[in-house]
Amino acid sequence: MPFTLKVNGASHSVDVDDDTPLLWVLRDVLGMTGTKFGCGMALCGACTVHIDGAATRSCITTIDSIGTSQITTIEAIGGTPAGAKIQKAWLDQEVVQCGYCQSGQIMSAAALLASNPHPDDADIDDAMRGNICRCGTYMRIREAIKLAAQTNKKAG
């Protein structure tokens, strides 16, 4: 049965089994490879996207569960105020190393910042502990989120 998905503001029709995880529809059917595969069990966060603004693990989100919700991926997160701030802070703090997990890290961080403009360390731990970075960029991720939050202050 074909499903109609709203991804980054555009509608796409896909014909896959209803239990197909969103991750593979994005990567293999729609060719949007910015969202990454890491574990397939919602253990690592590499596949994080936003569904109606909420950070969601696309590797366990079946296509029949999405309905008319809006999906936002790393390819479009720079179009949101929180996403743009996070991306800039990521560059300013030189967070990335191999970079493979960073799409998911940025999606989790952008969702955090959008819902909580001034997260403290505990908030950051809670929002980001589901995202593994094997290069160990955690210190810089924390600093970058705090830096992005500072720009929130300035903006009032």
Partner: protein, 725 residues
Amino acid sequence: MRPDRVTSRASGTNPSRRSFLTASAAVGGGLMMGISLPLGHSKAAQSEGFAPNAFIRIGSDDAVVLTMPYVEMGQGTYTSIPMLIAEELEVNLQQVRLEHAPPNEKLYANPLLGVQATGNSNAMRGAWKPLREAGATARTMLVAAAAKRWGVDPQSCRAQDGAVIHASSGRRLTHGELAADAAKLPVPQNVTLKSPEDFKLIGTPVRRLDAPAKVNGTAAYGIDARPPGVKIATLAQSPVFGGRVKSVDDAGAKAVKGVRQIIRLDDAVAVVADHMGAAKKGLAALKIEWDEGPHAGLSTEAVARELDQATQRSGAVAQNIGDVDKALAGAATRVEATYQVPFLAHATMEPMNCTAHFRNGECEIWIGSQAVARVQAMAAAAAGLPPEKVIVHNHLIGGGFGRRLEADGAVRAVQIAQQVDGPVKVVWTREEDIQHDMYRPYWFDRITAGLDGQGRPVAWKNRFAGSSVIARWLPPAFKDGLDPDSTEGAIDLVYDLPNFHVQFVRVEPPGIPTAFWRSVGPSHNVFVTESFIDELAAAAQQDAVAYRRALLDKSPRAKAVLDLVAEKSGWGQALPKGSGRGVSLQFVFGSYQAQVAEVEVSKAGAVRVRRVVCAADCGTVVNPDTVQAQIQSGIVFGATAALYGEITLKNGRVEQSNFDSYQVLRINEAPVIEVHVVQSSEPPGGMGETGTSAAVPAIANAIFAATGKRLRKMPVDANALKQPA
């Protein structure tokens, strides 16, 4: 221990060997420089003849394109290596573009030979001299070309900001305008390299060139390759190493929507589908019966037992100084211990994958590899093709750590692609990735020291047993029962130990493939030696820093980092009950490093690494922020290994399968890390792996300080640290 030898190692691969250069006209105009960079894990890997494997092309459009064999896997190479060229060529870093070196690019006359690999923390060590020489040579030729055109003395011209300038007349020609003329000039010998005080780029923090694409989802890793018409496959390999497929019932898999084909290999079954979701669903629907083969009863305990026994017979002598048996016999105190480190998986965030298209007597491959020439050679062998018929497209690497020095994933992809009409991307599930990794070896050490009446070590005797990765990966470098990796960090201690004897017994575990893993040999040896020197300090009832320091009179750089880390960490200051500090000190990969870890151990035995302070002397720092980032990264990697890292075998099967059973440190567990780098004008040392090897013993020693319990087997066993209720 012997400063002369230590110094020559510190300067990298082979400082006496003059790097070779050629210059010619570039295709499409401009100047092409060919450079021979040292590669591989030892001098044995280096070709004696001149075969350029890196190229600098200065186009008439002023673009400087560097093609090099080192790959970016997070370590910052794609930023720091171009800095060397830009510095000597006097161009802006933004003018330098980097291209992956393919193994058979037709643009370059010479094939890339030898062991084309990025590993052993050797990219900067290998490139430091030859790439600056290449840049300086090109600059000298551009200046000569300008001087000739203007009819002036070359001495009156200089290069600056991508151009040659004749100051007195105000004339200026860009490198691009001069490149074609320069290509006609002879290559000058003995060009002068810039002196460190004239460096404009080297030593300054430069932003990573690869970062923007990595924050917006456009960076292309191997797993992102999508040649037109590509199908997606995933696979199940024999759960027991060395087992074979006995039978497959694929009726259920074929019924899955999107599944196209089931491929049966000798020891694996693959499902080819329109997308990975269908491939995984098809794989789950397969009923596979395995012939488990000879390793069906294998356990970790059996491996450890065999290694234990091996340390009780003699091995190859890796180092011998003085007369250790005589010194032991005369020692006032004797300290003995055994140490063990486990098998470890790499668990790169990008699971193993490779895309292959087999057609009309050739094979095209898309992969992220640390060793693209190895991929080409092994894929060619698997495909029954000559290497030049295998085209390899290399990509960014979503975590290497040594895993992507192996080509097993490419071989699998070729085996599958041979049966598929069109390109197929083979993506391993995380479970396959962990259960069919090639593992950091299990090693077992039996170590004895003798102390004199003052507690000073007068004898050190260590015999350890385990796999030699080098013996498989680079056979010529395994000689007389020894290889340079297995012994690094065990035979070249910084301490003054007058009677010192180390033996290695090579024992390959049955059926289990072993491989390089971030810091490999030192990841084991530094844990053992730095834990044991801590034991000696405790036996002598002396402070762990003071004890080490008294043995460092012949190693001033080691003493300096130890002093620095003690000062910055607040060594000696009181900590709350249940907390402790531990120190480690090493010289590996050509760099000195000391770490102090602070841990907190709960009554239940849970260990929290609160803070790690690091002092590093890695010689000349090219990109300071990269050095900081690599040490931070290495420490987190080491903390993961110390607290969680363990692959175990039961009935021939790996017991761990995903990030629930093979845990990785998360942000809420990550220590605060402070890195202090010593100013130095020595040649650069390796940086990518040093943080890992130093972190494990620092953590283990901190646990001893906190609890009085000495952990001689990694990872940390919380049960052993549990306090009685």
